[in-house]
């Protein structure tokens, strides 16, 4: 009683493993979706770069002090693990602050070897405005 599957139009159902299988047509909306997706795919393959176009940052590096401060210092100094640094330049002389950065103090590790003199200077400049 089994029919060949090519006869999609036949409304008669097949029975496979006691499960009835009908031969309803694919809904028209779905066929439309298939076409839209296929056309989109070809278009995308030809015309799109496949990545997000990113413009290079306008003025690079003019906030390096801030970047180092946020990326490194704040990991402890914003979490309560280490003291708050707002206004620290009023409380400590410049030399001492730079020395703490270079050599560490108490639980704070020495990070001087990670940065140049210039970069430490930039961090200090940023700290002056950090309140």
């Amino acid at each position: 009683m089994k029919k060949e599957y090519q006869q999609h139009d036949s409304k008669e159902a097949d029975i496979v493993s006691d499960i009835k299988i009908e031969h309803n047509r694919v809904p028209k909306l779905l066929v439309a979706v298939f076409y839209v997706v296929a056309i989109w795919a070809i278009g995308y393959a030809i015309f799109m770069p496949g990545k997000l176009a990113v413009e290079p940052a306008a003025a690079p590096q003019d906030n390096k002090g801030e970047l180092i401060f946020e990326g490194t210092c704040l990991s402890c100094h914003a979490t309560g693990a280490a003291p708050d640094l707002s206004g620290v330049t009023d409380r400590m002389p410049e030399e001492d602050i730079k020395n703490v950065i270079k050599k560490g103090r108490n639980t704070m590790p020495a990070i001087g070897h990670l940065y140049t003199e210039k970069e430490i200077e930039l961090v200090y400049e940023y700290l002056k405005d950090y309140r």
């Binding site: 089994k2 694919v26 809904p27």
Partner: protein, 457 residues
């Protein structure tokens, strides 16, 4: 040593699966809780990284895969109108598979990992797992080889395909990466496994389950043979290409990127074809979801499948990816397929198959209802917390809000996720308890029957 009893493989794989969903989700809940209290259980075994990867690997390869194998050990012989080729081998494979999973679990807690998403087990575990999967596949292929039914029903295409695809992706993802030096290539190989474990194992076996369950549960004929064909061949053709979209906007060549984006969107074709077929089959049967919990689990699974597959293709687009990548959103999305869609269909499979094996109804209908509602509501709370969190987080990063501040912003959402997750976790105890009771009572009833027969004889 191993029993040859009819359907014992299926039953035992299910029991092991449910054991592992409890362990696997405990790890998940611990991960979520650690995001609230980072100090919790902070010892050398249960660090965040160890626990998170253990959760992922256990729920996929222990819970979901074992539940899949359990349902295949019932559905495949039923569809082939024959017995399982060897129940003994099925039970042996189960014991072996569980030993391997245990090894992998402890390896992860000890800190051994391959750092491949969905392939974290170290190499010495990968090899053994491949052998275990091979044993299962051999047994099931032999079963189909002895079939009494000439035609292969749709579910069988999916099951047999998946049993070949899983070892394939497992090999490609785990083994060559050991000898490839550079990071980007390793990343691509890793994501071949990462995405195909979802697409050519979790999805395809799950869809096969639904194709079996829907006509059986509703008593209605399958809607369209042609849609089944489109769905199967389209997923088999396009899914393997999905890996690169995980490295979107990363250091991969533009053409690979496109080769990842396009098939991701083209996946709308098989997904919608399959769903149209499911819902066409459901026509006139929707009201049955009120009373039949297995049917409700199946249908809810199809709905979550739709939403997972609306999110997925969109996420593959470079512009969308640039916002939500690395955020909590991804975690919400990653749970919708494996939990919302295919754990649900596996629950349905257990509730449909177990009574047929043990010969009595599930012990408690109310526990089934509780299982459904806790799972669904819990998942929605969990997922929406993460989706909102992800969007907020993504845009905050683009705005340049300091990172630590964005971490603090996530607090309420992370708590919401943990609450939803707790509900999902609690739900599974209803399943485990209900299964235990059912099996125990069935045994008792059988014994009593035997005694009565002996007395009357």
């Amino acid at each position: 040593m191993f029993t040859d009893e009819k359907w014992s493989s299926s039953k035992n794989w299910f029991i092991a699966a449910v054991f592992w969903i409890i362990i696997g989700m405990s790890m998940g809940l611990l991960t979520a809780t650690k995001q609230i209290w980072p100090e919790l259980l902070n010892n050398r075994w249960f660090t965040y990284g160890h626990v998170r990867s253990a959760h992922v690997m256990l729920v996929i390869y222990a819970w979901l895969s074992m539940a899949y194998v359990g349902s295949m050990f019932y559905m495949i012989p039923k569809l082939a109108k024959t017995k399982v080729y060897s129940e003994k081998m099925g039970n042996f494979a189960l014991v072996f598979y569980n030993i391997v999973i245990l090894e992998g679990f402890f390896a992860l807690l000890l800190g051994q990992t391959e750092v491949i998403e969905y392939g974290e087990f170290p190499l010495w575990v990968d090899v053994q797992l491949l052998v275990a999967i091979g044993l299962v596949a051999y047994n099931l292929f032999k079963t189909v080889g002895r079939r009494q039914e000439k035609m292969l029903y749709v579910s069988l295409w999916y099951f047999l395909g998946s049993l070949l695809w899983l070892p394939l992706t497992w090999i490609v993802g785990n083994f060559p990466a050991q000898w490839i030096p550079s990071g980007v290539q390793q990343g691509l190989m890793g994501w071949f496994l990462g995405h195909n474990a979802i697409g050519l194992w979790m999805t395809t076996v799950g869809v096969g389950q639904i194709y079996y369950l829907l006509p059986k549960l509703t008593g209605r004929p399958l809607y369209s043979h042609q849609l089944s064909m489109i769905g199967f061949w389209a997923i088999a053709t396009f899914y393997v290409w999905n890996g690169p979209h995980h490295l979107m906007n990363g250091p991969i060549p533009g053409w690979i990127s496109k080769a990842g984006v396009i098939p991701s969107i083209v996946l709308l074709i098989p997904v919608w074809a399959v769903l149209a077929n499911f819902w066409g089959t459901m026509k006139g049967s929707w009201s049955q979801t009120r009373t039949s919990v297995p049917l409700r689990f199946t249908v809810a699974g199809t709905i979550f499948y739709l939403f997972a597959c609306l999110q997925g293709p969109l996420q593959a687009l470079p512009s969308v990816s640039s916002v939500i990548k690395f955020t909590h959103w991804t975690v919400g999305h990653a749970h919708m397929g494996p939990f919302g869609a295919f754990s649900f269909t596996s629950f349905a499979a257990i509730y449909y198959i177990l009574p047929k094996i043990v010969g009595r109804e599930m012990f408690s209908k109310r526990a089934m209802e509780a299982h459904f509602w806790f799972s669904t509501v819990g998942f929605l709370v969990f997922a929406f917390s993460l989706w909102i969190a992800g969007v907020v987080q993504g845009f905050a990063w683009i705005e340049g809000v300091p990172f630590l501040q964005t971490v603090l912003m996530m607090e309420p959402y992370v708590q919401g996720r943990a609450i939803g997750g707790t509900m999902m976790y609690v739900a599974q105890f209803f399943l485990a308890w209900n299964m235990y009771k059912t099996i125990k009572l069935a045994k008792l009833e059988k014994k009593q029957q035997a005694q009565q027969q002996a007395a009357s004889a």
